[in-house]
Subunit: 127 residues, 2 copies
């Protein structure tokens, strides 16, 4: 065994590590932006669902009340409300109260700036 192998840090135990210094360098690089990754993942997670994509596309054509969104989706109002709240909590949607009705609409600026931000971030790292 040479010096680049079998020097284990943790927590991957009893496993050979080739190119130890390269691994260490990459780990320190990742550590710099590791705090951003959970938010970035959440951002993508919210888009990784057909129901939510449909909501975004539907509301791109104008605001809708909850039960009309439900009809567009073909889901119960409860399930629709749940997803709307999720999107609203992450800043993709805004809501407006009108009597008993609640109207949801896109907050496209935030959506677009977020997407462009991720784009830029990845472009920087991937060339």
């Amino acid at each position: 065994m040479d010096s680049t192998v079998k020097v284990i840090t943790s927590p991957v135990c009893n496993v050979t590590c080739f190119e130890q210094e390269k691994v260490a360098r990459i780990k320190s690089e990742l550590a710099k932006e590791e705090h951003l990754l959970p938010q970035l993942a959440e951002l993508y997670k919210v888009l990784g669902n057909v129901t939510r994509l449909k909501i975004l596309l539907a509301l791109a054509q104008g605001e809708l009340c909850v039960c009309d969104v439900a009809h567009v989706l073909g889901l119960t109002v409860a399930a629709t409300s749940h997803q709307l709240k999720l999107l609203r909590d992450q800043g993709w949607l805004a809501m407006r109260n009108d009597g008993k009705m609640v109207y949801y609409r896109l907050r496209a600026e935030g959506l677009l700036t977020a997407l462009k931000g991720e784009m830029r971030l990845l472009e920087e790292r991937l060339g």
Copy 2:
């Protein structure tokens, strides 16, 4: 009740539908691109996970063997291999065989074109 209400299509039953014709129009708009949404969601789903984002960022600095990726992640080799296969199956990574070792690398072109494609798609619809 007026003509815009209580005309139920399905499967959201016993729920009032306001702006019936608007809902119908949006549904037909969505239907046109509905077949694309599952793929789009899968694309985002794969990015909605910190482990996989770390893998992409790590490999952005050059190819690595599986066990070195595992050390970067701090996960078992098995879990690492599982995520690498997932990314490879979706075309984000390529692999190279060298004896017992397997080296993974980014296929950045596909990654970037995919991201830019989604960007364009959403930009069109959101202004």
